[in-house]
Assembly symmetry: C2
Homo-oligomer: 282 residues x 2
Amino acid sequence: MPLLSELVASMASGAVKVIDLTAPLHEDTSVISLPPERGQPWPFQREVISRYDAAGPEVYWYNIRMSEHTGTHFDAPIHWISGRDREDIASIAPSRLIRPAVVLDFKAEAAQDADFLLTQAHVERWCEDHGALPDGAWLLYRTGWADRRLDAQAFMNGNHWPGVDPGCARWLAEETGIIGIGVETVGTDAGQAATLSQPFPCHWYFQGAGKYGITQLQNLDSLPPRGAVIVTSPLPIVGGTGSPSRILALVEEGDGYSLSGTPNSLHPKRPDSTSLSSEAEV
Amino acid sequence: MPLLSELVASMASGAVKVIDLTAPLHEDTSVISLPPERGQPWPFQREVISRYDAAGPEVYWYNIRMSEHTGTHFDAPIHWISGRDREDIASIAPSRLIRPAVVLDFKAEAAQDADFLLTQAHVERWCEDHGALPDGAWLLYRTGWADRRLDAQAFMNGNHWPGVDPGCARWLAEETGIIGIGVETVGTDAGQAATLSQPFPCHWYFQGAGKYGITQLQNLDSLPPRGAVIVTSPLPIVGGTGSPSRILALVEEGDGYSLSGTPNSLHPKRPDSTSLSSEAEV
């Protein structure tokens, strides 16, 4: 059977499921708060065009405004000065929008310390248990922050939320083959990232290396540590620096993972490997 | 090999390709023109928040505005009064966002007659050559209109562009298993659809049946008549009537179709079938 036919059949049977990693978008969607001298991103807002009324008796629709970086969104390299000569959001090759993902769970650590920073040692320890970071894959960083999404005050938490330390961000961006980092928080960097030795290290190093960020993800607890495939879908805004984006995951029932439950904490150790084809062993 | 691992490997080898069906989004993206007493959708516009300047020395980003139905976009059932009690854009199940597609090519007919309307007889004749419309799949209607995209006047063409006749729209929406219709034009209905016996028949019947529309597609000439899988990605605007959307297609090199060329016009006849699993034979 052709592979895509098998995919369609597996989706119809439920053997492959689509999981939505996107936060619902509405007027209360949190946006980053910046010092008043900075330019400010618009929160999501809408104005009715017509609602089955005189302005359009059969039509209901809205005009909408937001920023490129409002809600669950995709950061393109030119979003940061370190990536200023790299891709805008419309220039990213379509083949880079459908990629495998690994999920690193540091929810327990972030629950203990809202300013928790992921280090290279943390990632290397994860790799001992779950195998190397696959080339071309997303690293999705689970912190439990999505659980706060419905409470804007807890989500923004006075600008205290977890992130990645500068050394780890540099290593991930410059010395591993991952395509980008995905987070549950309002942006890819920690709430206190302005105070780090390299301020905003995820933005600085990832965008500087021509890599990407995706934000405000949810449902990462429904993904296995390895094996999911992620579809990102930024609007192709010509010259744009990012875009609100639906993020969907394909997950397959298989070894060590049940779609009906939580990821198997006894996920077996697997040999190191850095190629995409290593996924064959999962 | 697990199916998703095989998908990743096939994408890495080029056996499965990702084709972008989305029109680039910018200030010149065409929006539908309506009588002045009607509410008007906003064209795409942007305002710089900062561009590596005093408003954000390390950051480049835009605030953006548009309508839910600007550029390549997804129509939800509540967009039309016939579907007013059905799904908003955020309520559509994620599993409905990744679906197979068939491509019906009526470019020659639309080149002869800008007001060409697809009829049930046209679709039935297509099915004789290519098999039945698969349940749960998108019907993508190729008219060649995407070739006019860079010339707004030719694209809008004084409100003369091809569409679907009311009887065919009713039949497709109510008596076939397709999930929705995708078009190359500014909206799913013909330029002269206000004058038809059922005005705006695609909107009326598809949205009324809880089905969907996708618009302003391009690169349909890179898809086979059957066998592609389409990812649609509307933003989950809570209560929204539609959304600008990236639309990606997965296409597999296989029987009767070469990725390096155009679809095989000698595509073999295949037996009638209405189930997704029939795709196995393609």
